[in-house]
Amino acid sequence: MGDNGSVWLPDPGTALAGEVDTLFWFVFWTSTIMFAMVIAAKLYFMAKYKRNSESDVPEPVEESKALEAVWIVVPTILVLIVFTWGFDVFVKLNNAPPDAYEINVRAMQWSWEFSYEEGATAYTELYVPVGRPVKLNMTSSDVLHSFYVPAFRVKHDIIPNRYTAVWFQAEEAGEYMIHCTEYCGTQHSGMNAKVVAVSEEDFAAWITEQSQDLPPAILGEQVFAQCQACHSIDGSSGIGPTMAGLYNTERALEDGSTVIADDDYLLESILNPMAKIAQGYPPVMPAGFSALSQKQLDGLIAYIKTLE
C-alpha cells in the first residue's frame, strides 16, 4: 500500500485507494492461481489421454460427489469473502466524512467547472488541500458524464437535475488526471482535467488569489480553458475554428454569407451557437455556455480580443 505503481495499477493517491488495491491483488492472485490450475489440468489431460487408436472407446468414469462438492463449496466461500470485503470498502468509498471540504462540480459538454464556497471558480485544475477529505457535489448541465480519478480509484456518474457525490483525501501533493468516463459526444475523450493537491498553506493562498476580482482578460483566459477542447489559440484547426486572429475579421458562414467577428458576433456565438455556423465546421457546439455569468462572458470576449 502506498508504494509505487505496478504494471497493473497506477500509484495510489489516497489511503482508500491503497485498500482498493489490496483487495484487487487478493482477487488477482486467487484468480490467477485457480486459472493456472484449470489450464494445467487441461494441458495435462490433453497430453495424457490423447487418442491412440480409432477404435479407442474409454469407459465412463464414476463421478465423485465429494469432488463436485469441493468445486462448489470452495469457490463459494472465496467469492463470499471477496463480496464482503468489496462491500466494506465500497461503503467507505460511498460515505464522505462529515467534516469534508465541499466543492461544487458542474460537468458540461466537454468541460468541467469547479466552484469553491469562497467564491473561486476553476476549470481545468481542481485545487484541493492535502490531508483533508474533499467531497465533490456534482451535477451536469446537459447529458450524463462521469467523474473519474484513476489514482484515487473513485468514479461516479454525473446526472442532469440531480446531485451525486464522490470524496477523496489526497495524501501527497501532486497532480492527478481527471477523466470523463460516461460517453458525452464528439470531444468525450478531451473532457479531462487535473486534481492539483497542494499543502494547506498553498491552498489557502490559491483560494485568496482566485477569489479576488481579476482583470477581464485574465478571467477570460481562465474561463477559456473550457473551450480549449475544441478551439485552439495557436491557429490550428480543431472541432471548431481557432480563436487566433479571429477578432474583427470577415468570417465565411456555412450558409454562404459572411459576417464580421465583432463583439456582438462573439457573444451570439457563445450564447446561441447554432445561429451562425462557421464554414467547414460541424454544428456541434453545446448550448450550455449560455449559463456563464455576464462577467465571465465579458472576460471571454476581452480575452479573445487579445489573441493575435
Binding site: L23, F28, S55, P58, P60, W71, V82, D88, V143, R153
Partner: protein, 566 residues
C-alpha cells in the same frame, strides 16, 4: 412422403432463387442466416480494424473524432444485435436442433422463415441510420445523450426493435420444437447439451427481448415526440432508462454465451469420446442461469446513481450466477479425464475457449467486486472483459461449431492443416489484441476514448498489432472454407465419430426431410461406451452402419446399438 433419389439432398433437391427465398426447410434457413450473419460479422470486423487502427497512436491517426465515435458504435450494434445474438442459435440452432431432436422440421417452419426476413429488415433499418444522421454513444444509447443527437437513433431503435421480434419468434419456435417434437426415446436426460443450451437461450430470448422492445420503443418516442420519460430536461429520469436497458441487456449476455456452452459441451464430449462430466449439472445450470440472469442487471450500474443498497444486492446475486458457470468450466476439463482426446480443429477451438472464457469469467468476478468495479467501470478493463466473454466465448465457440458441422452442412471437408494454422492465429491474435486492454483499464484508460494520454500508447500499439494477426486468422478461415466448397474432399457420414442424430441417422449433406423414418433413440447423447461397436473398425465409422454407400440410410436398419441402456 416419398424418399429422395440417391444423390439428392437439401442443397440440390430444388434449384433457383425462389426455392431458397421461399423455403420452409430449417436447414436452408440456417444456411441463409449464416450468409447474413457472416456479412454482419465482416462489416463489424472491418469497423473493428478501423477503430484499432485509429487507436494506434494518440490524436488523429486515420479519422476524426466523429467518425471514430460512430465507428465503434456501429461496430457494437452490428456485432451484438446482427451477429452474436443470432450467430449460434439462428445458424447452428436452425440447422442442427431439429435433426438432433429427430424431427423433420421446427414446429413452425413458416414462422421460422418470417424470423429470417424480420431479421434482415431490422438489419437494413439499422444500416439506414448511416445515411440519416449520426449514431454515436455506443450500443447502450444512454439517454439523454442518445436523444440529443440526430435522427439516426430513430433508425437504430426501430431496427433493434424489429430484430428483437426475430429473436423472440426464433426462441418461441425452438422452445415448442424441443417440447413437442422429440423423437421417441429421446428423453430430457438423453438430449445433447447443445439442445439444452439452445433451449435455455430460447427462454431468455422469449422473456427478455420484449423488455428491450418496449425500452427502445420508449426511447424512439422520446426522440420522436419528447415524451419526457427518460429526458431529465423534460422531467424524466435517465437512470430509469439504464435499468430498463440492462434488464434486457444483461440477460442478453446469456443469449450470447449459453449457446456457446452447448457447442463446447458437444465438442468436448465428441472429441474426448466420453460422457460429458456432470451432464445434469451442465444441462440444468444453463436453465438456472437463464432465470438468475434476470436478477443481476444492476451490476452494470454500481456508479450510475442507483442506491448503494441495490448495488450490494446485485453484487451478491452476481456471484451466485458466477459459481455454476465456473463449475461448468471444470466439468468440461474433466470430460477429457480418462477420455480419448483427438485434437481436430473443432476441438482446438473448444480448448481455446476454456482458456479465453476462463479469463473472461475471472475478470467478471473482479468486476463484480463493488469497490474494484468503482475503479474499473467504463475503462478498457471492461472492454477487454466482454471481448474475452463475447469473442473468446461466443465467437470462438461459433468457430468451433462451424468447423464441426461444416462437413454436415455442405458435405465437404476443409483443409485441416490450414484450419489448425488459422486456429493458432486466432488464438494468438485474440490474446495480443485484448490482453493489453486489461492493463490499460487497470491503469485508468477510459473506454470510448478517441484520444488518449501518451502513457497508454505502447499497449494500444500492441493491441492494434494483435488485431491484424486476428484478422489474418479470420480471413484464412474464410479462404479455406470457401475453397472447400469448390474443391474440398468429400466428407464422410460421420467424420468425427459423434453420436448425435445429425451424424448417425442422416446422409451428408442431409436429405430434404432429414430422416426417412423417425429415428428411435435408446441411449444418451454421449454414451460412447454403449455405442462401442461403431468404432471397432475405425475410420468412417457410421458408414458401416448406414450401408457404406454414403447415400441414404436404410430405414430398416437404424444404427442403434443393441446393448441395453444402463
Amino acid at each position: 412422403m416419398s424418399h429422395s433419389a440417391p444423390g439428392l439432398n437439401y442443397l440440390n433437391h430444388a434449384k433457383g432463387f425462389k426455392s431458397w427465398a421461399l423455403t420452409l426447410d430449417h436447414k436452408r434457413i440456417g444456411i441463409m442466416y449464416m450468409v447474413a450473419v457472416s456479412l454482419a460479422f465482416l462489416a463489424g470486423g472491418i469497423l473493428a480494424i478501423l477503430v484499432r487502427l485509429e487507436l494506434l497512436g494518440p490524436g488523429e491517426t486515420i479519422m476524426g473524432p466523429d467518425a471514430y465515435n460512430q465507428s465503434f458504435t456501429l461496430h457494437a450494434v452490428l456485432m451484438i444485435f446482427a451477429f452474436i445474438i443470432p450467430a449460434i442459435p439462428a445458424v447452428m440452432g436452425n440447422f442442427v436442433l431439429p435433426i438432433q431432436l429427430g424431427a423433420k422440421d421446427v414446429a413452425f417452419p413458416r414462422l421460422n422463415l418470417a424470423s429470417l426476413y424480420i431479421y434482415l429488415i431490422g438489419a437494413v433499418i439499422v444500416m439506414l441510420a448511416l445515411v440519416n444522421g449520426r449514431i454515436d454513444g455506443g450500443w447502450t444509447f444512454y439517454a439523454p445523450y442518445s436523444t440529443s443527437i440526430g435522427n439516426g437513433i430513430l433508425f437504430v431503435t426501430a431496427g433493434v426493435f424489429v430484430m428483437g421480434f426475430s429473436s423472440i419468434l426464433t426462441g418461441l419456435n425452438f422452445i415448442v420444437t424441443v417440447h413437442k417434437m422429440r423423437a421417441p426415446g429421446l428423453t430430457w436426460n438423453r438430449l445433447p447439451l447443445f439442445i439444452w443450451s439452445i433451449y435455455a437461450t430460447s427462454i431468455v430470448q422469449v422473456l427478455a427481448t420484449p423488455v428491450i422492445g418496449i425500452t427502445v420503443l420508449l426511447l424512439f418516442l422520446e426522440k420522436a415526440f419528447s415524451i419526457g420519460i427518460f429526458d431529465p430536461a423534460l422531467g424524466g429520469d435517465p437512470v430509469l432508462f439504464q435499468h430498463f436497458f440492462w434488464f434486457y441487456s444483461h440477460p442478453a449476455v446469456y443469449i450470447m454465451i449459453l449457446p456457446a456452452f452447448g457447442v463446447i459441451s458437444d465438442l468436448m464430449g465428441t472429441f474426448s469420446r466420453h460422457q460429458v462430466s456432470g451432464y445434469k449439472f451442465v444441462a440444468l445450470s444453463s436453465v438456472a442461469i437463464a432465470f438468475l440472469g434476470f436478477l443481476v442487471w444492476g451490476h452494470h450500474m454500481f456508479v450510475s446513481g442507483q442506491s448503494a443498497v441495490s448495488s450490494i444486492v446485485f453484487s451478491l446475486i452476481t456471484y451466485l450466477i458466477g459459481i455454476p458457470t465456473g463449475v461448468k468450466v471444470i466439468n468440461w476439463v474433466q470430460t477429457m479425464y480418462k477420455g480419448s482426446v483427438q485434437l481436430k480443429s473443432p476441438m482446438l477451438y473448444a480448448i481455446m475457449f476454456l482458456f479465453t472464457f476462463s479469463i473472461g469469467g475471472f475478470t467478471g468476478i473482479m468486476l463484480g467486486v463493488l469497490a474494484i468495479d468503482v475503479h474499473l467501470h467504463d475503462t478498457y478493463f471492461v472492454v477487454a472483459h466482454f471481448h474475452y466473454v463475447m469473442m473468446g466465448g461466443n465467437v470462438i465457440a461459433a468457430l468451433g461449431g462451424l468447423h464441426y458441422w461444416w462437413p454436415k452442412m455442405f458435405g465437404k471437408m476443409y483443409n485441416e492443416f490450414l484450419a489448425k494454422i488459422a486456429a493458432l492465429l486466432v488464438f494468438i491474435g485474440f490474446n495480443v489484441t485484448f490482453f493489453p486492454q486489461f492493463i490499460l483499464g487497470t491503469q485508468g484508460m477510459p473506454r470510448r476514448y478517441y484520444d488518449y494520454l501518451p502513457q497508454y500508447e505502447s499497449l494500444h500499439e500492441l493491441s492494434t498489432y494483435g488485431s491484424w494477426i486476428l484478422a489474418a486468422g479470420l480471413f484464412l478461415i474464410m479462404f479455406y472454407l470457401i475453397a472447400s466448397l469448390i474443391n474440398g474432399k468429400k466428407a464422410g457420414l460421420n467424420p468425427w465419430g459423434a453420436l448425435t442424430l445429425e451424424w448417425t441417422h442422416t446422409t451428408t449433406p442431409p436429405d430434404h426431410h432429414n430422416f426417412h423414418d423417425t429415428p428411435v433413440v435408446t441411449r444418451g447423447a454421449y454414451d460412447f461406451h454403449l455405442a462401442r461397436h461403431l468404432f471397432e473398425n475405425g475410420g468412417e465409422v457410421s458408414e458401416l452402419d448406414l450401408g457404406g454407400d454414403g447415400a441414404a440410410p436404410s430405414h430398416e436398419a437404424t444404427p442403434v446399438p443393441q446393448e441395453p441402456v444402463a
